[in-house]
């Protein structure tokens, strides 16, 4: 652990520009997290690294801002009746195991193939998972929108119906978000996969939320809110693990938290103004855009590993900048949609209130 301890000694100096940058990215990340249950980490971690923060310190500090943020978001959304604490804890505990296993695989890959191998693994995981899940989620949201039944109650999928119909004695647990008893044997692999993804690409919610919706049959709003409980459990365990090695830069974590707690409150409130399928729209869009961002980096790492011809330093720089730019765009677009939906929802609510007042003769 000596190298880790050394990394901890490399805590950067904070100037005003860094503080403002971290606060703003924290705010936007928090806004998206409050709405879809996760997000922000995929910009924050590389963002910190671009400021000179060592990779492990960036991951650790990001995690240490994630769990208190998720806690505040979960409490807020619990007030709106959107959180299934039991499901969150059950998935969160198995996710913790997934995080540990995912981190172990990462270490092995890094040991065998070096930094480029590890980066390639992360990028390919990003592209494959986000391509499958992101396109599926977006397609579903699009179908709902096109069918004109965005206001209708969400229908559960055939898989979820089957999962809810299987009875394995001794493993059945009732979850209020599903309004059904399901076997814990189904939640274990889903939680584990969420954790593994969190350890690999830092955003476990990209698997956690869709699996709660499509595999278990939870409504979108409850799935995204319950993800905050999972993020809290995973983040707390992960932060402690990193803190044991002295890798958490508490200043970075708390400054990001300063912005993200403004954002998460707003994102959580935003969910009360929108139709449930908007959760899928925002999540699917972010996933697909981020996919392109990571795909740009794949040739760079492949060239570093000698799998393809060499790429010039200039091209590498352009690809890196474009990749980071696209990630920021994805997050900003997500935030824009959330704010716009909230703005429209508030306007509609005001109109409705005015109409009601007219109807009952108050005006």
């Amino acid at each position: 652990m000596h190298d880790l301890a050394q990394a901890a000694a490399n805590f950067i100096n904070l100037d005003a520009a860094t503080l403002i940058y971290l606060f703003l990215v924290g705010f936007v990340g928090g806004l998206v997290s409050g709405f879809i249950g996760s997000g922000g980490a995929f910009v924050l971690t590389p963002g910190m690294m671009s400021m000179g923060v060592p990779g492990l310190v960036a991951v650790a500090s990001n995690m240490c801002h994630k769990f208190p943020k998720a806690l505040v978001g979960a409490i807020k959304r619990a007030k709106y009746g959107q959180v299934d604490v039991k499901l969150g804890l059950v998935l969160g505990i198995s996710a913790e195991a997934g995080v540990l296993y995912g981190a172990h695989i990462q270490e092995q890959i890094k040991k065998t193939f070096g930094d480029a191998g590890s980066n390639l693994y992360v990028s390919v995981s990003f592209v494959v998972v986000l391509a499958i899940v992101g396109i599926f989620v977006l397609r579903d949201a699009w179908k709902t929108y096109k069918a004109g039944n965005a206001n209708a109650e969400e229908k559960i999928t055939k898989i979820a119906k089957w999962v809810q119909s299987v009875n394995i004695p001794g493993t059945m647990v009732y979850f209020k978000s599903l309004d059904a008893r399901i076997s814990i044997l189904f939640t274990l692999p889903l939680g584990f996969a969420t954790g593994m993804l969190a350890a690999t690409i830092a955003v476990g919610g990209f698997v956690g939320v869709p699996s709660m919706i499509y595999v278990l049959g939870a409504p979108s709003l409850m799935a995204s809110a319950t993800e905050l409980v999972i993020a809290f459990v995973m983040g707390l365990g992960g932060s402690f693990k990193y803190a044991l090695h002295g890798l958490v830069d508490i200043r970075l974590a708390m400054i990001i938290l300063a912005g993200s707690l403004f954002g998460i409150q707003l994102g959580a409130m935003g969910t009360t103004y929108v139709k449930p399928f908007m959760i899928k729209v925002v999540m699917g869009l972010i996933m697909v855009i981020v996919l392109f961002s990571r795909a740009l980096m794949v040739p760079v790492y492949m060239s570093q590993l000698g799998m393809i011809g060499s790429i010039t330093a200039e091209t590498t720089k352009i690809l890196k900048t474009a990749s980071f730019g696209i990630m920021i765009f994805a997050l900003a677009l997500g935030a824009f949609i959330v704010l716009r939906a909230m703005w429209q929802g508030r306007r509609e609510e005001r109109l409705q209130n005015a109409m009601e007042a007219v109807n009952i003769g108050k005006i």
């Binding site: 208190p68 505040v72 009746g81 402690f240 803190a243 002295g246 707690l261 409130m269």
Partner: protein, 85 residues
């Protein structure tokens, strides 16, 4: 309670100012003692509890402040909550 009554509810300005001051104090302490924090929080082992406890304290105080902040600005959840089972 009607939405009209809800809207005339007193805004938590006092709480916002109080939690805001405490939160600002916490952040001032954080930024003014950077060397001390870096030295102790990165020691590892049992010192791992320090960043965890700090995160909980900040989330409690700053989280309350940000909640009151949006309420005072008049930004709140929809009155008619989404029907969620």
């Amino acid at each position: 309670m009607s939405s009209h009554e809800n809207r005339t509810k007193k805004k938590p300005i006092g709480m916002m100012v109080l939690t805001g001051i405490i939160s600002a104090g916490l952040y001032a302490a954080l930024l003014m003692n950077q060397d001390l924090l870096n030295m102790n929080f990165a020691r590892g082992g049992l010192y791992a509890f320090l960043p965890i406890i700090t995160a909980f304290v900040f989330s409690f105080i700053h989280g309350s402040f940000t909640g009151h902040f949006w309420t005072v600005l008049g930004i709140e959840a929809a009155r008619k909550k989404m029907e969620v089972k």
